[in-house]
């Protein structure tokens, strides 16, 4: 099994995430500094409409909005190394601990992606440049989503290990053996 850090590097390669993307993301920073709050506000309206997610955010929307704004700001710093990865893994683990299914993270990422598409095309006059900037953001949002899902799967098997006493390696082997039998 590859370590999560190795998987992160492999994912960056698979998405062709390179220095050009990092540079384009950095230039998008000011646009999102200006419009990010409206994306965050809309995001929490969406979460508030769904009973399952509304329950999880109740009474702490303002604190969560601040965390969300920080997450968004970090998308545009231009630094996507180990520190960035560790921060995103922590976000995934927090989602498991509060009992949030990963599909909610995926569903809400749609809203962020869609809002970003509109904002970039409204603020970058050249359409080819807007599409290139948006593609870089898409890569990073997908990386974030994959890391959050990765953390979810890791944490879920870890919890099963903790409660059953079965070693993590044994569980991984059981899953692999089951796959071979099919």
């Amino acid at each position: 099994m590859s370590t999560p850090a190795e998987i992160y590097e492999e994912l960056k390669g698979f998405l062709d995430f390179g220095e050009g993307d990092a540079a384009r993301l950095k230039t998008l920073g000011p646009i999102f500094a200006q419009h990010g709050a409206s994306i965050t506000d809309d995001f929490y309206v969406v979460l508030g409409k769904n009973p399952e997610t509304a329950k999880l955010i109740e009474g702490r929307v303002d604190a969560l909005k601040a965390t969300h704004a920080r997450w968004m700001g970090e998308l545009f710093t231009g630094d996507y190394g180990e520190g960035y990865f560790a921060g995103r893994m922590r976000i995934g683990m927090v989602h498991v601990k509060v009992g949030l299914s990963p599909y909610y993270v995926e569903a809400t990422m749609t809203h962020i992606r869609n809002a970003a598409e509109r904002i970039i095309h409204q603020n970058v006059a050249d359409r080819a440049e807007a599409t290139a900037g948006f593609t870089s953001l898409l890569k990073l949002l997908d990386l974030d989503l994959m890391v959050i899902n990765l953390a979810y799967q890791e944490e879920r098997l870890d919890l099963l290990t903790k409660v059953t006493g079965m070693k993590r390696g044994l569980l991984e082997n059981l899953i692999r053996q089951g796959q071979k039998k099919k």
Partner: protein
């Protein structure tokens, strides 16, 4: 645990997939009939570049390309009911059977999203109209991805269940208990 049908209904509501999206997706069909082949070809070129995915597709690229094309055109079929759900869950389960980690599905979905955005902006002269069509495409792609991941998570726990003899509900409870303890 909600059933896949409940999750599907919830996803459509949460992503606000409405009549306008369905109309826009149907309108996109000719665009993807025209450009879809190139997206599929690029997609398999990319899978061929990665050793893990290259091993999985070796010797059957043409058959897989045909399946991929069917999947892509179904995105624009305008019908997103129970049959659509079943087809998407089957795709997820097929990925688990061949031992493909969902992160590869997510990674390649990225390329489809990016290629789709580019094709749509190249097709529509009006930027706002293009963005509206891109957003409808992203909604259905995200629903597909969430369903494929759902099938993956379900099938993975089923494998632990069949290998250990522990009931599936027991495993779910254990995970929930562990989650509470871990807080």
């Amino acid at each position: 645990m909600p059933t896949p049908d409940e999750v599907f209904a919830e996803l459509k509501t949460m992503l606000e997939l409405d009549g306008g999206d369905v109309t826009r997706l149907v309108a996109l069909q000719p665009v993807f009939v025209r450009h879809g082949q190139r997206i599929t070809d690029d997609f398999y070129a990319r899978l061929g570049d990665n050793p893990t995915t290259a091993a999985l597709i070796e010797g059957r690229v043409e058959a897989l390309k045909a399946t991929h094309r069917v999947w892509m055109l179904e995105l624009f079929g305008g019908q997103y009911g129970p049959e659509y759900l079943q087809r998407r869950l089957r795709i997820g389960m097929a990925h688990v059977r061949i031992g493909l980690s969902p992160m590869y599905v997510e990674a390649v979905m990225h390329h489809i999203r990016a290629a789709g955005e580019r094709v749509i902006h190249d097709t529509f002269t009006d930027g706002a109209e293009a963005s509206a069509h891109v957003i409808s495409l992203f909604k259905i792609l995200d629903i597909d991805l969430a369903l494929i991941n759902l099938a993956y998570n379900e099938a993975r726990l089923d494998l632990v269940s069949s290998q250990t003899g522990m009931k599936r509900a027991l495993i779910e409870n254990l995970i929930k208990q562990g989650g509470k303890k871990g807080r």
